[in-house]
């Protein structure tokens, strides 16, 4: 294990020293965007580098989100941190708690004299990365949210004429799909905790954790042990037993089950759009997340997933000027709109959304605006987002208990009680390390 760290540090060090220094200031940017997303990232860096001659952004792919985060932290501890690193949303609280290690983006922008307007950003996106006082700490880069995908052909073959809008309708449609043999499975999901508890809570305007989901401080506890959450969990267990719902795994496994035509409906990230579009050999549609009609306040807004760009502390002042310039470059509506349309990630500024709308993109690509529609409403204290320490482990705990429930080892009530007690222990532990 430890060898990995040493390796990462040695590699980082080698990278830092082997680059000959010119008058151009280099800005190191570590990210987790592989494949076609990686090409887009490189193109962004290239275009910025060509647009001016003082700074050079060097984008480096560092593996998956957890890998990049671990590498960045190891590099920081060894004094070789990159200027910019991309951290996924569940790592947000860890980064925020690392006060000496990060440079707040808003402060950096104003120090460097770059234009920065809080109101320009989509509130539900920027809110995730903003302190209680309203200061934006990291730069939202690739944000997605959970949406509902359905196979139009399979639903038609099963005689489902109306797109399901509520969870009972999803179950009824799944039953019809199964009965008609229109697909092997009715409904599946990617990212179970994110979709079925985190987004579920915000969408129904109820808390996921106390202290406003952790935005109010480190003393929060999980608040998912409620009748509404229990009803949904019990339903999932029931639908799984009846074969309407098929559990696919903890990450994005649901995506391919849907695009392969195996499951007729699925909930997953809006950023799965590009892949689904490429792979699906059937007509599909996207609509808003299902909800329960008897919950007051539903549907509210969904919460984001994806990642933001964090600036690491301890670099020369001049370097930050370059980082600030690069962020201004990234914030341009044209760049943002291009990123949004090409990837399925959310536009982070309102201007980018307007620009995309004006270009007619949503009309030619129906469904791509669903994610935006879900996010663009005014958020409440309960729905702004989730900011919990040790969140990676908490998600794991939630998914473990969910799996035990689906296996019939415990009922929904027991599962939620265990998620809460185990999750709270992790929260208390984080509270102590962050003081």
């Amino acid at each position: 294990m430890r060898r990995l760290t040493i390796g990462a540090v040695a590699f980082a060090a080698a990278g830092a020293f082997s680059v000959p220094s010119y008058a151009v200031t280099e800005i190191q940017w570590w990210h987790s965007m592989g494949g076609s997303l990686g090409e887009r990232v490189n193109s962004l860096a290239d275009r910025f580098n060509k647009s001016q001659s003082e700074y050079k952004v060097v984008a480096t792919y560092k593996g998956t989100y957890p890998e990049n985060m671990a590498a960045s932290i190891a590099a920081y501890r060894a004094g070789n941190a990159p200027h910019i690193t991309q951290v996924f949303e569940v790592g947000t609280a860890t980064m925020m708690a690392a006060k000496g290690a990060i440079m707040p983006v808003e402060k950096m922008m104003t120090d460097a004299g770059e234009k920065f307007d809080r109101a320009a950003y989509v509130p539900a996106v920027a809110g995730y990365y903003t302190t209680a006082k309203g200061e934006m700490l990291s730069f939202p880069f690739n944000s997605s949210t959970a949406v509902f995908y359905y196979n139009k052909d399979a639903l038609a073959a099963a005689g489902v004429s109306k797109v399901p809008e509520t969870w009972p309708e999803v179950a009824a449609a799944a039953a019809k799909v199964k009965a008609a043999g229109a697909a092997k499975c009715g409904y599946t999901t990617s990212w179970p905790s994110w979709v079925h508890l985190e987004n579920f809570s915000a969408w129904h305007n109820v808390l996921f954790a106390t202290e406003n989901n952790g935005f109010g401080g480190l003393k929060g506890k999980l608040a998912i042990n409620t009748p509404l959450h229990e009803k949904h969990m019990a339903n999932l267990a029931d639908w799984s037993k009846k074969g309407y719902f098929e559990y696919a795994g903890r990450t994005s496994q649901g995506d391919s089950k849907f695009s392969a035509g195996e499951c007729a409906m699925f909930t997953g990230s809006s950023s799965a759009y590009a892949n689904v579009k490429r792979n699906a050999k059937f007509n599909f549609g996207i609509s808003k997340l299902p909800y329960y009609t008897d919950a007051p306040g539903a549907p509210q807004n969904s919460v984001i997933g994806g990642a933001s760009l964090w600036v690491m502390a301890g670099k020369p002042k001049g370097d930050y000027k370059g980082v600030a310039k690069f962020f201004s470059f990234l914030s341009q509506p044209e760049i943002q709109a291009e990123w949004h349309q090409g990837t399925g990630y959310l536009p982070i500024t309102l201007a980018a959304y307007e620009l995309t709308k004006k270009s007619g993109f949503y009309d030619t690509n129906p469904g791509t605006d669903v994610a935006v529609q879900q996010m663009i409403v005014k958020t409440t204290d309960k729905s702004r987002g989730i900011r919990l320490g040790n969140f990676v482990q908490i998600r794991n705990v939630i998914e473990e208990e969910m799996e035990a429930m689906l296996a019939g080892k415990q009922d929904a009530k027991q599962a939620l009680a265990k998620m809460s007690s185990r999750g709270d222990e992790l929260l208390r532990r984080f509270e102590r390390t962050a003081q």
Binding site: E67, R77, T94, A260
Partner: protein
Amino acid sequence: MDKRVVFRSRWVPWALLAPQLTIILVFFYWPAIQAVVQSVFLQDAFGGHLQFVGLENFEQLFGDPLYLNSIRVTAVFSVAVTVMGLVISLTLAYFADRALKAKLAFRTLLIWPYAVAPAVAGVLWLFMFSPTLGVVAHWLKNFGVTWNHLIDGDQALLLIVLASVWKQISYNFIFFLAGLQSIPKGVLEAAAIDGAGAWRTFRAIVFPLLSPTTFFLFVVNIVYAFFDTFAIVDSMTSGGPGQSTEILVYKVYHDGFKALDIGGSSAQSVVLMVIVIALTFVQFRYIERRVQY
């Protein structure tokens, strides 16, 4: 006359040993000491906040029923992998050694899986057992078995055991085959003349003469099951469903590198280290005595 080569100088032996010692110090002792040190601290991921907590990380571990469960899973897993791996490869080696035709082809085919990376092996098995699309899952359905390792913990454990055993069979096979070939033909012929059947020959002659190889493989396989199966677990189940396949080494990785709980993860690696030291001690102290060299 003394024919031994003797170093007159004091430092030459050390200089010759230095490269190896450096490697051991840097890649083994230093990280091990670091793990011990970090296991008594509570710290945030960036190392900005460090608090000495004594044995609290350990207390927490052993007070956690899930950690005890992880120990149990590891025990079941490593015993299953070692026993199944040794039995199957010994059987295969025995027959491959006796095969009259296509000897070389059998051997080559049996050695192949060793060239497959653990993560790739994991994905291969995952494909075959995929609950909705997998060939084996489909085939099992005909026998009335519903295969879904994404929900059923016992099936998931069985699956990683199968993949890990399959991956290790080649390695065991090569050693067993070499061991079998080094058994003098004369002994076997003598047994045949005495009228011993195949099973009797195996039990009374082949197996005892193979015992050094078996012991060596036993130690290697236990270590393999404890540490090297990490990639298989990571690519196949990530420790789930529930915690049914969360073996100790995977938990160390997950808590340390994904969840960034450095103190807790270090405490776990110290425990793991102690377990492996204890196991190795037991193996050499008690089992090795029965080995006939």
